[in-house]
Amino acid sequence: MKQLKPVDVVIAGGGWTGLLMAKEIATRTSLTVAVLERGPARKMADYAAGMDELDYNVRLRLMQNITEETVTHRHSVRGDAVPVRQYGSFQPGTGVGGAGEHWGGVSYRYEPDHFTLATHLREKHGAARLPENLAVQDWGVTYDELESDYWRAEQLIGVGGKAGNLRGKIVEGGNIFEAPRSHEYPNPPHKSNYLMTAFHKGAIDLGYHPYPVPAATLTRTYRNPDGVTRAGCVYCGFCNRYGCMIGAKAQPSNTLLPVLASRKNFELRPGCWVRRVIHRGGKAEGVSYTDAAGEEFLQPASIVVLSSWTLNNARLLLLSGAGERYDPATGKGTLGKNLTHQVCAGLQMFFDKPLNSFMGAGGMGEAIGDFEGEGKLDAGMLRGGGFRTQSSGDGPIASFGRIPPGEAKANWGAEWKKSSLRWYDRMGSVMFEGDHLAYRHNYMDLDPTYTDKFGDPLLRMTLDWTDHERLQERFAMRIQMGLAKAMGARPGGMLRGVGKRYSVTYYQSSHVQGGVIMGASPETSVVNPWLQHWRVPNLWVLGGSTFPQSGWGNPTLSALALTCRAADALINRYLKRPGGLA
């Protein structure tokens, strides 16, 4: 293994959180920062030629190469796991910018009680009435402490939306259920199309409170506090699973790299696959990695930051033996615990009129806040979720064949084709995105059988739904049926959904969380409230892997806000006095 010249900070993973941490450190200090990214370099100029549904939406060209590495899954500790052989329930990105290049730009904040969920549920329901194996935890940070970082993150990426609660004052037209925010959104919401207008009207008729979905697909030309200017969205419809050809959708490549490019103390190395964190006696000494040519390197560093995708952060720490492995039988150990996904269930809605659904943008949509987190839920439900309709751009391959149930006997042939043409571009959907509570039996460890391209063990997910998620799904379906009818649409089949058992065969969301969770105590969490490893103080972990449980909303904005907070702690406190901050 070739030993390289030391750097001050080495960052494993060049996505949103890793490059944001790099930007903060490289612009505010003189420390040298090296970001190692296993995937290729990416740039805006490549994305226009990527406006191809087959290669990007079907073959998933921006995702990690699944032949090289995947995860395994089993439903319970009884039995062996099998590999996820093709992408299904989630889609991890790769390359510079990571999943931040292909994301949809939906930019929610979590509500205050989500950050203190364990305390909140105990106080509200009494510990005796909560499911026995519930493992939700407090985050060790409160909404109020994080509010200014949410605002920083919103300005960084230029979120467009409408505030519903400005410093405690309720504002009609925004999400009146949201927590108080100190500022109006940096940009106005997206314009409204036919589908969104119908949703808005239907929701009001039912007594709900609709608001425009907050989105980081710019609604106008915008210059962020770093001086980076991006163009407004042109609604080409190539958004989720694509990179933006004009940079209207906030991506690390168009938001962070322009700032970093001119920094002499910053270095980005694509094609470098981090294999281990090297540590000794409670101190990280650097990382080992393999480059695209297959050569192995040791990169010494004074500070190590892990910012790869959720599942890989946990895997790297497990492979490196950094932390105490979680044991679901005893509840002891912290590394790998609290694996959560998200409870996603949608209803197809068929309209008499065409929707022009090939136009659109990630995050362009309307939502209702009435059941976010809580609200008037069914008996036995601890948490609800958000409902929204979205026009993020539908390609013809994905759209063809969406017909109301019972319209054709088979899903091929003349009758089916005729019906598919009759209903083409007539389908919208209302999606439910609910909190996925953490349970003791859902966790990650290393698979004893299957390996990646280097022969290293794959990460094993042990994960299944419980009655609570099935309650959420049933509840969602009822609300969605009501919304569809109020919109004058014909309800169709179910999209995504929980089902009897967790399935890796269809897309749910790429919002997988946990494994390296944050918290107020080293007994119950791997990293402290500043995302610093409890036992290895010069090791920091960023992103969804640190969330103790999933919220109902999309996690990216929260990951960015927590990274801002971690960067402040690292720069303002840790550098002055290296050691544990908590």
Partner: protein, 218 residues
């Protein structure tokens, strides 16, 4: 070296021939009677005839509009199977291969190429059958992984960008009313509520004014 195989498609049944041959000149040679001889990259000619006939049953050309044959779906499928996708480069293929529950999806060892080869053997002299008998034969294999792939690939080949070999002359996009990957709907996005916004479709290479290659060709 393997003998080069061709499939001959009557030009009358291939949609929008002009656009298509402009796009794909090196791949196609027009014969004197107007039919097109397409070199095959994966299938034998006999296999290609079966796939063509089966895809036509899935998406038949009829009074509702053109079907799989006219869109050149066979060319799309042939090229996908010849490329990395056919060789299973979009799947984790390390063993052991074990049977599992349906929630874990297809766990088999066979690649898309092998699934096709095996599935086609089961269809026998499919092209010689009358359409009703062809339908019957497909109904019998509806639940197989082979049929699932064939159905999915037929839709993809009908509606993909022509750079991938299907959607000849943008015939699929014309039929459904998809305008192609246009660069901006900034002035349209909040207009035309409930009304169709339709244009004569254009391919990605026409939009960009330069050739674009599909992943299968890299």
């Amino acid at each position: 070296m393997k003998r080069r195989e061709f499939i001959t498609i009557p030009a009358a049944s291939l949609g929008g021939l002009l656009l298509f041959t402009l796009d794909r000149k090196p791949l196609r040679a027009q014969t004197r009677d107007g039919s097109v001889r397409v070199p095959l990259k994966f299938f034998t000619e006999a296999e290609a005839r079966i796939v063509t006939a089966a895809a036509e049953r899935i998406l038949p050309g009829d009074e509702s509009g053109p079907g799989a044959t006219e869109a050149g779906v066979i060319i799309y499928i042939d090229r996908q199977l010849a490329g990395p996708y056919g060789r299973d480069k979009n799947r984790y293929t390390k063993g052991p291969f074990v049977e599992s529950v349906p929630e874990h999806g297809y766990q088999g060892r066979a690649t898309p190429r092998e699934i096709y080869r095996e599935g086609l053997r089961g269809l026998g002299d499919f092209p010689a059958l009358a359409p009703a008998l062809q339908n019957e034969k497909l109904r019998a294999i509806e639940k197989t992984p082979f049929f699932a792939l064939l159905r999915t690939h037929t839709i993809e080949g009908f509606l993909c960008d022509p750079m991938h070999g299907g959607n000849a002359g943008l015939i699929g996009w014309q039929l459904v009313g998809y305008p192609g990957p246009l660069m901006s709907y900034r002035d349209e996005i909040d207009k035309n509520p409930g009304l169709p916004w339709r244009r004569k479709p254009v391919s990605l290479s026409q939009v960009l004014g330069r050739p674009v290659k599909g992943w299968e060709e890299e």
